[in-house]
Assembly symmetry: C2
């Protein structure tokens, strides 16, 4: 129970009286908790989540409730792949980054060979030749840097899913 | 129903007769299907997964069943974070790769400046100076390349979880 005359999002959704012993209240009492619990109930079932939370140490229940809500909302959003689609997306990003590192590594190796074979080409008078190559390489790296990376993934995804 | 006198993994777990209309049979009839369905039932509930599959086009049900089994097994393995721990791990890998690209980018930029300012240092007689630097850079990239990447994540994770 979150306060006088107020029920947690889970009890509001389940249309039941919220008590001091409510297992959901500490973790489903924020603004969109009722909507999120609706997804949790539909995907996992309130009873299963209640059992899961009850089996965990109190200190770990918040993270469990957040990840369960995230998985449930992701499954509502994408019934076929759920949050696994996000795993695929991250794997794709890793593949792109590793490919980029390989490209840069090859460029570095080729440049080292060029320098060793022809050091006098890299004089100040030839600077204009080398700068464009470096610029294009840095541009490629900048492009990669634009890939989304955020440690607050759950909060962001919950927000995104709310907006859909 | 998977064959004469044989039940699918779901029906074996639920101790019921498997019929031709069984919604689970096409997707839970492999070697460890009974064990996997046990996790699916505990985490999601057989009824919820039955509803999910029934609402999807037949062609999408296999992927849905696989991802549901994956999420369920991951949650059994890690009751607090479930498969979200894998998302965190992938994010960490991305952070490492982006950091590595930044390091290489800076090394390239510094080397370009060195070459422009002092091209005569990079003669054949000085090759021994440049090779160790390149080797260390390549070694760092190789280290990054050892990070696990596999498009068959679900199958691998299911196997890993089976072994725990």
């Amino acid at each position: 129970m979150t306060g006088l005359n107020s029920s947690c999002g889970a009890c509001k959704f389940l249309r039941r009286r919220c008590t001091n012993e409510c297992i959901f209240a500490p973790y489903f009492s924020y603004e969109h908790a009722t909507t999120h619990f609706s997804a949790v109930h539909k995907v996992f079932g309130a009873s299963n989540v209640s059992k899961l939370l009850s089996c965990l140490p109190v200190l770990e229940r918040t993270d469990a409730a957040i990840t369960v809500a995230y998985e449930a909302l992701a499954r509502m959003h994408d019934p076929v792949y759920g949050c696994v689609s996000h795993i695929f997306s991250l794997q794709q990003q890793i593949a792109c980054l590793m490919e980029e590192i390989e490209v840069i590594e090859n460029q570095m190796a080729n440049r080292a060979v060029d320098i060793c074979n022809n050091p006098y080409l890299f004089t100040q008078s030839n600077i204009d030749q080398s700068v464009p190559i470096l610029d294009s390489e840095i541009a490629a790296v900048d492009q990669i840097s634009e890939i989304y990376l955020d440690s607050g993934i759950i909060e962001r995804l919950l927000q995104e899913l709310d907006q859909d």
